[in-house]
Symmetry: C2
Subunit: 245 residues, 2 copies
Amino acid sequence: MESQLNPHISVDCVVFGFSPNGIKVLLVKRELDKLNESPTPSYDLKLPGSLVYNDELLDDAASRVLKELTGIENVFLERFEVLDSLDRMKNQKDKEWLESTTGLTIDRVISVAYFGLVNLADSELNGLSERSKWVTLESAIQLPFDHSKIIQRARELLLHSAGTEPIAFDLLPEKFTIFQLQQVLEVFNGSGIDSRNFRKKLKTLDFIVPLAEKQINVAHKPAQLYKFDRKRFMQFRKQKNASFI
Amino acid sequence: MESQLNPHISVDCVVFGFSPNGIKVLLVKRELDKLNESPTPSYDLKLPGSLVYNDELLDDAASRVLKELTGIENVFLERFEVLDSLDRMKNQKDKEWLESTTGLTIDRVISVAYFGLVNLADSELNGLSERSKWVTLESAIQLPFDHSKIIQRARELLLHSAGTEPIAFDLLPEKFTIFQLQQVLEVFNGSGIDSRNFRKKLKTLDFIVPLAEKQINVAHKPAQLYKFDRKRFMQFRKQKNASFI
DNA sequence: CCAAAAGTGTTTGGCCTACACCCATGT
DNA sequence: ACATGGGTGTAGGCCAAACACTTTTGG
């Protein structure tokens, strides 16, 4: 097993950006110059995704590809789907593009799709590469391969999993207050969580870990800071009716 | 794209067999003679699984492989996991076996795992092939590749979805008694449902429909018969915490 | 009459919900 | 002082769990 690209296995990342204006999705530019040899540079947009190395785990490949293509790192990506249709490359242009960029002969590619969520207000997103772009969900309906379908499925997942998947924590800073967590969950819910009951509930959840630290320089009583323990959450979610809302 | 085996992509099927005594899992014998050239035939057991053809959908591959290796067909198989660790072939014997049976050079294989459920009492299962075998979950703990781990994950899925997916009704006849339903759910649970509470709960569920019919020729008080209304169930499951256990 | 499963009510404890006020800090 | 979010307790309702006996049939 050598460190070379496997021509049959790829990953694709759907990264949603959360902002008060709405939800956007992160795409990357795909250069089409080499194919049609036109004098003017041309491109279209696709999901950040690529083939996987033979000695690479899928999770690692997803993080690597996202970093390489968009500059974004430290996004928690969750595997959610396997794409295996036989007509994924039905557009000859897509196949040629993939062969020209990888230097490999491509017949069939099975793709494992990942899903992530970031806060567009985060300053860390300033490392965004030139070739990547946030677009609205409405404008991501005619993408290469089956990428529009993947985005559609990820969007359904987003709507149905606010209380059972750890997506809320992807929108929060490392250290957050209970109030911040509540605000994010209220956006998913459509608003209306009682703060006293919410705090009581959180005290029983071992994956919300209090830190020996409080807010500073805030114009109110400084709040206790907490962190999210993902491992403990993964245990928690295995229980029968595991919802933290 | 020709009809040949893809050396990087496989499917594995975890088929659980339900019986009043407990749950069993379907394994197939793997001949090891060719490897060690011993005079006495020897084999061990593994999950029914195999490489996928390049022009074959994963779902189709899973059904085909299950049919070919065990003789069982018409089982609803659900995709539930992707296995991608780098040490899936850490046992050299497994790699050699796969290479000798496929005639291919194997480096890395990613496997897509499927899950299915059948009633061991069903007469249709008589087509079971000689080389396949139902074993208890306890005796399936030291299997080749990562098959024990796959079974473990499928078992968790089974437990998690017993009360939220309609899988219990796939094991019951068209007309069933509450006691029969309870027995099925008790096997999923690992046993222990209070019949009085269970009957109370069921009376509130409109998808368990009483028929104008009772048991006949039973050596006890004849029980009311019920049928399962799938459409009403689909409505029911859309609710937030929809579980009928 | 015996075996086997059918069927039926009440009590208890835990959990979720609703609800209102004082606290610490920066401006 | 005042604005802002931080942080706390209690009472009521609902639901799930624990618990035992009588009924109906076939053998």
